[in-house]
């Protein structure tokens, strides 16, 4: 049973979980720290920070993919796994569900969030548009990690047209 009171959520066994805003603060500091470490941001330097962030998200996603699914084997096809991402994973991490999921039925999925919690504090519009991608790297890794635990190899990229709305594009890699 979940109750929302003053931003607190109860975990699945009724354990009180920490306030959601703690993760947002931690994430902001992570991005600031990993960005600031490159005094000479050549083209290779910046990409390395992004891949470090993405790698962190990947490991977290792997653990989430193990812990979150319910008791039954619920993923008969890829679409079920993507729906799980949009509903359960998003709700667990960001306390809301994904706003829209579109697919071309050939392995490409576009997940759209109209008010992404990690961007919502920054701006509402076109200000800070260049800074926005580095705040999405961790989440891309998270999606990729969760899918990898469920047995789906994928490539996840993110794009921002106007804050705080963003799109995550998931391309399934079929080898």
């Amino acid at each position: 049973m979940r109750t929302r009171g003053a931003g607190r959520l109860l975990g699945r066994e009724g354990r009180r979980m920490a306030d959601a805003v703690l993760f947002e603060f931690l994430h902001t500091e992570m991005v600031a720290e990993l960005w600031a470490q490159d005094p000479d941001p050549g083209p290779g330097g910046q990409k390395m920070s992004l891949s470090v962030l993405e790698g962190m998200g990947f490991r977290v996603g792997q653990a989430l993919g193990e812990r979150l699914p319910r008791e039954t084997l619920a993923f008969r096809e890829e679409l079920d796994a993507l729906k799980f991402l949009c509903k359960d994973v998003w709700a667990a991490v960001f306390q809301k569900q994904m706003d829209s999921l579109r697919t071309n039925h050939q392995g490409t999925y576009v997940l759209q969030d109209h008010s992404f919690p990690l961007l919502i504090r920054m701006a509402s519009g076109l200000q800070y548009l260049e800074e926005a991608p580095k705040f999405l790297a961790f989440t891309c890794g998270l999606l990729r990690g969760t899918l990898s635990t469920l047995g789906i190899k994928s490539l996840v990229t993110a794009s921002v047209a106007a804050l705080p709305s963003c799109k995550f594009q998931v391309v399934i890699q079929r080898s």
């Binding site: 490991r59 993919g65 193990e66 008791e71 084997l73 008969r76 469920l150």
Partner: protein
């Protein structure tokens, strides 16, 4: 209780396999390996079922009739008398032979293997000795649930790389608690009350004798002090 517990990765290699220390542990490894075929069959059969009916617990995979040899030490002692054995037990450790003389008797041993698969296609296989106690389905399910929860904790451990062998002591402790009852040797325990008076005297003398021997001998491992070679261990 459980006689062998194995955690198999998605790619069908073992992440963790542990069995009760017996003479022929390889037999359990083979049994787990052959159970994987049955697991794969069940998973593919389940793929066609409705979503609601798909469970993580796969149930009994297959039972085997396995003939196991038992040490029947007490029976031998009654036949040949205690003094001879006392002498032999003194001499044999000095010669480096650790096995006490025994005759073997044959009992059928019912080993059953049960399976469980997670959403990440990690399989748990448990081999259970059901000749003693008939374990109910619910008990097996609860054992698997405990295993699943512990495995999830291992995955969430930042010092664990997914795909490595599981070395977590917490996981080991949980598996030990599931296997602990199986470590008591069956067939070689005889109630004290069933022995005659002369036998009790001999047993007492033998026990004292063996106790004195034990204090004098130091095995290969010796005493484990704080600077033993196992420190520092990996944190878990």
């Amino acid at each position: 209780m459980a006689v062998c517990v194995a955690v198999i990765a998605k790619e069908n290699y073992p992440l963790y396999i542990r069995s009760v220390p017996t003479e022929n542990e390889l037999k359990f490894h083979y049994m787990v390996h052959t159970s994987l075929d049955v697991v794969d069959e069940k998973i593919s059969a389940m793929g066609k079922a409705l979503v609601d009916q798909r469970e993580l617990y796969l149930g009994l995979l297959y039972p085997t009739e396995d003939y196991k040899v038992y040490p029947h030490t007490w029976q031998w002692l009654r036949v040949w008398g205690f003094p001879a054995v006392a002498g032999l037990c003194t001499v044999m450790p000095c010669l480096g032979l650790s096995q006490s003389p025994r005759i073997k008797s044959v009992f059928p041993n019912q080993l059953c293997s049960y399976g469980y698969v997670t959403n990440s296609k990690v399989k748990f296989v448990m081999v259970v000795d059901s000749s003693n106690t008939a374990l109910r389905d619910n008990e097996i399910r609860s054992m698997f649930r405990k295993l699943h929860n512990s495995y999830t904790d291992v995955m969430c451990n930042p010092f664990y790389n997914p795909g490595d062998r599981i070395q977590s002591r917490a996981f080991d402790g949980m598996v030990t608690s599931m296997m602990i009852q199986a470590r008591q040797p069956r067939g070689s325990c005889v109630s004290w009350l069933s022995l005659g008076i002369a036998e009790k005297v001999w047993v007492g003398a033998l026990a004292t004798h063996m106790g004195c021997l034990g204090l004098k001998s130091t095995g290969k491992e010796g005493l484990k002090g704080p600077l033993s070679s196992q420190w520092p261990r990996r944190r878990d």
